[in-house]
Symmetry: C2
Subunit: 161 residues, 2 copies
């Protein structure tokens, strides 16, 4: 399997999981959190598909495409290890959807980080809220859901509170 | 259509066109040219799928993933406006397959560049050789082929000498 194959599987799976999670949570009023902006492609996709909910972006250093950059009041700048606890104080357990794509190329590092960040993400979700991640997460009380059609096993994960 | 949708279509189309063109030219001995290395994903794919042919990479500044970086003797460094004419002197009309993904986000710029670079690419192809591009090219004597299954109209182009 080439890096191109792997990358396509990851992108296609992200989209399938996001579309599924956006539809499942459409009736929930709480905000949506995008953890990791990167180039801004998934954020652009979420902005196109999500109506009536605020989307907040957590990012260390904004470097996205101009048309995929959040307004200042929706950008929560800094290390998620600090901005996630701050968001819990500010928003409480209200998020309808959280998407995380924080990993790099090092799988061991990604996994270690997923273990550290999972307990900071879990309390932010509202009851019934969904979490979509490119890495396996380590939650206490969330339920892992089967992947929607089109997503490739192991390339993304969905959890429900 | 989101930037994520567009990006997926481009990647999937690149792969479909490359796989088709690699198979079509499998019996030809001439070298393969990758114009624009970028992250190196398509180069990685070509290296996995192409057997018995040299793959030369044309790139201004190598910034690819370590496992997708060509050995020094297969990297033709510099602006393609200069390295393509040099390659014609060195290789003659022998290339079995040329893949170009040189564009950025500005469509008008990409199109202007495609017009300038097309006459430098055309003479490098061997009789029966194929050219795959993310941008529409402007060739004198090459024939545009219908896209293979899985490729999205307008996201890639294939030409035969
Ligand atoms: C979109 S990227 C290629 C991505 C690649 N197909 C991949 O899958 O990762 C385009 C690359 O073309 C290179 N490039 C653009 N114009 C060039 C030129 N005139 N001469 C040499 N390289 C050029 C850029 O430096 C960039 O690395
Ligand atoms: Ni890497
Ligand atoms: Ni752009």
């Amino acid at each position: 399997m080439s890096r191109l194959d792997l990358f396509i599987d990851r992108m296609v799976s992200q989209r399938a999981c996001l579309d599924f999670a956006i539809a499942q949570t459409a009736a929930m009023p709480g905000p949506v959190f995008e953890l990791g902006l990167g180039n801004g492609r998934t954020y652009h996709h979420m902005r196109e598909k999500i109506e009536g909910r605020d989307i907040y972006v957590f990012e260390r250093a904004i470097a996205s495409h101009p048309d995929s950059t959040p307004a200042a009041e929706f950008a929560l700048l800094g290390d998620v290890m600090e901005t996630l606890p701050a968001a819990l104080e500010r928003f409480g357990p209200t998020a309808s959807l959280i998407h995380a794509d924080l990993g790099g190329h090092n799988r061991a590092k990604n996994d270690a980080f997923a273990r550290r960040v999972s307990p900071l993400i879990e309390p932010l979700l509202a009851e019934g809220g969904l979490m979509v991640s490119s890495d396996r997460m380590y939650f206490e009380g969330l339920q892992e859901l089967p992947l929607p059609e089109g997503a490739v096993e192991g390339r993304c994960f969905i959890y429900r509170k």
